[in-house]
């Protein structure tokens, strides 16, 4: 870590990978099947200024499959994005397939959401898949219990997750990257909303001395204060010198709160998914682009926005594009929202380095939470 905020746990750091450096705190656009929905790779780099994007091992394993990705020289070769990438194991997706999956000690059996074909993911197999995909950072396979799990289930699940993490580490250490680029394995802290389980999980994970550590299983329905409490508790235990990644979170406010509590990395489908539905995050608040109030507002989408689409198009034009269900609406909103998220974390970084984070955060949360 290059810099730590004096008034909070917020940190600014740098992660170095063979595909380039990542300045933290960072937001990672989600490119589930090797594409960030509606966004060209050039726009990701030049306009959104994404430093790292995500792929999903479960989705990429099903389509196009690891054989094709290997022939392409890994995901970087396949989709042409030459900056760092991270793959999630897909555990979260598989455990969302309720009814069509079966949990065993060995791993998890599931049926493809596409064609119903039967597959099994073991910790070893997931590492093999992520080696084949070749992302710079790869995630271990964990069990993702439902957000409302009772204590007994959460405890049993965590024990399984720990045995799986150990098996992931072993397979990772026994294997080599396939494309001449180093890969780092990140471990995941589970434990639902139970403090003693989260503590135990963080201690287990910390003891493994992985290149980075993640917090999973949050923002799955628990009260937001409970999420922040769990983050604090876990980050008190996770090593300070390693990156901390809060998986699948969240709103811009969630991200600022988590940065304050010492989180460095984030991913979420919210900027793209909500964008496609007409919701725009801006420096001055949230806009619903379906709203008739924008019908004759010919001012830029965002006057001092973070992306070039903000001044290329007006609110009225973007509202019209949503109104007539045009593809370009989703494209503009996706670029806009991702650029906003990237602006938010880079500004947070700047404020941490300048020692102004806490004050800036308070003011920013107020501004960005307005309903425009």
């Amino acid at each position: 870590m290059q810099c730590t905020d004096s008034k909070s746990s917020a940190r600014a750091g740098t992660i170095t990978t063979d595909h380039g450096q990542i300045q933290t705190p960072i937001f990672m656009p989600v490119g589930t099947v090797g594409t960030v929905k509606g966004v060209h790779q050039t726009e990701l780099k030049e306009d959104i200024r994404a430093q790292i994007i995500l792929g999903n091992a479960y989705h990429l394993y099903l389509r196009p499959g690891t054989t094709i990705i290997e022939k392409a020289g890994g995901l970087h070769g396949f989709n042409g994005f030459d900056r760092p990438m991270l793959t999630d194991s897909g555990g979260f997706q598989i455990f969302s397939l309720s009814g069509i999956r079966k949990l065993k000690e060995e791993g998890v059996e599931f049926r493809s959401h596409i064609d119903g074909s039967k597959h099994i993911f073991t910790p070893e197999k997931v590492i093999d898949i992520e080696r084949a995909i070749g992302a710079d950072i790869i995630m271990a396979l964990d069990e993702c219990p439902p957000g409302n799990s009772d204590y007994a289930y959460a405890k049993k699940s965590l024990e399984l997750t720990h045995r799986w993490l150990d098996r992931c580490i072993q397979r990772f250490n026994e294997t080599e990257p396939k494309y001449g680029y180093t890969q780092s394995l990140f471990l995941i802290v589970q434990g639902c909303v139970y403090s003693d389980l989260r503590k135990q999980a963080a201690e287990h994970v910390a003891s493994k001395k992985a290149d980075g550590n993640a917090i999973g299983g949050l923002a799955v329905g628990e009260p937001v204060e409970k999420m922040y409490e769990m983050i604090e508790l876990v980050n008190d235990i996770l090593p300070k010198e390693k990156p901390r990644y809060l998986m699948g979170v969240g709103t811009p406010v969630n991200i600022l709160e988590a940065i304050e509590r010492g989180v460095d990395m984030f991913d979420c489908v919210m900027p793209t998914r909500n964008g496609r539905n007409g919701m725009l995050f801006t420096k001055n608040g949230i806009m619903n682009m379906h709203n008739k109030k924008w019908e004759a507002d010919f001012s830029p989408v965002e006057t001092d926005g973070a992306s070039c689409v903000d001044i290329l198009y007006s609110k009225a034009y973007l509202r019209h594009l949503f109104h007539v269900h045009e593809l370009l609406a989703m494209q503009i909103a996706s670029i806009h929202n991702l650029a906003f998220y990237l602006w938010l974390v880079s500004e947070a970084r700047k404020q941490i380095i300048e020692g102004n984070f806490s004050l800036w955060k308070r003011k920013t949360i107020e501004r960005i939470s307005e309903r425009l």
Copy 2:
């Protein structure tokens, strides 16, 4: 016209508008509701090199409506495209609304395809709408009879079209452009596939000495040779010194055949619509991107293609994007196909000027018609 081919009727020319010059022959991407589907305005200008795009008066009248467009300072102000634009009257769209429209001497009554609301388009009203939209070139309202109309209907329809054209001209002459930019009115030759009606229509239209003349009502189901025959017949009569626009046509081969017969301007939804469905036009033939044969073909979409997406993405990646139904597939294919169409007409222009058009056309048709 700057240049005419010695062996055919092909011509190279320049159309000057207040939003810039258009080098003909030209293809005009279709932006029905003020957006070319899936394509940013910057991509239209910088990558596709569109010199002029289309809008549709019927669609723009319904949404966002002329009040909004007028407040925006016309369509140029509304969508931010600062090059020439042309609006079709929307007659073709209204006459496609069979069952929910009623033809009268005065005009055509119809119900909106969106909310069923009742409207009437008269020649005068269409000119008023196109004045409000403010495109550089505006089209007269004609009746578009079905492709299989019998002679009696076609004749009656043509007589009505001629009375409407005269009313359009009168309204056009009585009104002024609203935004300080000159507008030109183009007239339309109808007459189905009946030579004497087409001849009579071309003579009527030619006598009006409009800034440009269009051929409508072709490529609606008649044999392709019949279409070429009608184009030849009409172009023999239409003034040589004015641009000729073949409406809604067509395949790349149709376009080359029509250029050879003296057509200067084209529009068609084919490059974008077929692109969204996975069909790519290339210099070496047609590709169906859903085809499994591209699954592991990591070569560029098109090695010497006309657009930058051609080398940014591989065939295998684009095939994957179509396979998983990703937005980016439609975006890439739309840019690619439009850039191909623009390349085709600009290359045709070059060959006309260099005196090689006929030979080049024969070879090109052979190459681009391959199935890859």
